[in-house]
């Protein structure tokens, strides 16, 4: 079975991704046609299939192709924002400086200005028992 796909409609990366998704079900080879700017995909099923099943396989491949093309388009559209987020997370020195506490090296960890190390009982005292018992 052969499919002729226009490279003006489907990007090459999307075609290759769709083919890759089918290599567990079929043997696939690609060829170009320079005169028509198209790629010919030859699909040979691994299992013996009826005519109807073959048609289903090709139809599934076409659906996968659309799916791949869409994913490719989304990935292309979001490339800048993706790179920005990764760059911001990994490489921005200003961000890591802002996250670190100021005067980090001057801090003395033995001091306890907020009284965190003091036990609760010592800080607030024990609760007095109710004087009037019913």
């Amino acid at each position: 079975m052969k499919c002729r796909l226009s490279t003006e409609i489907y990007p090459l990366d999307a075609i290759i991704n769709a083919c890759y998704a089918f290599i567990d079900r079929a043997y696939i080879s690609l060829d170009t046609n320079n005169t028509t700017n198209s790629i010919e995909v030859a699909i040979k099923s691994k299992a013996r299939l009826s005519a109807k099943q073959k048609k289903t396989l090709v139809d599934d491949f076409k659906n996968e192709l659309l799916h791949s093309a869409l994913r490719y388009q989304i990935s292309k559209n979001n490339k800048k924002i993706r790179e920005y987020i990764i760059g911001r997370a990994l490489y921005n020195p200003a961000l890591s400086a802002a996250a670190a506490p100021e005067n980090d090296d001057k801090m003395n960890y033995l001091e306890d200005p907020l009284g965190i190390a003091i036990p609760w009982e010592k800080k607030y005292g024990k609760k007095k028992k109710c004087a009037s018992k019913v």
């Binding site: 890759y20 696939i28 080879s29 170009t32 320079n34």
Partner: protein, 71 residues
Amino acid sequence: MGKKRNALLRFDSALYPAKALKKAIRAYSELGDFKLTKVGRYFCVEINNIAPSQQTVISDEFKNYCLGTLL
């Protein structure tokens, strides 16, 4: 059982880079003798010394492997 049998596969050089094909040949080198040549815009892979019963399977699986190396 004679083991010498040839299969010739053609790969469009616009789609399949030589590096990908060489990688696939390295992976399949234990199954037979592979030879890569360039004829026009096609890379030709000649496969020799594969078991006759496995010739089709190896050729087809080799094509799929080449496709996988494109990613």
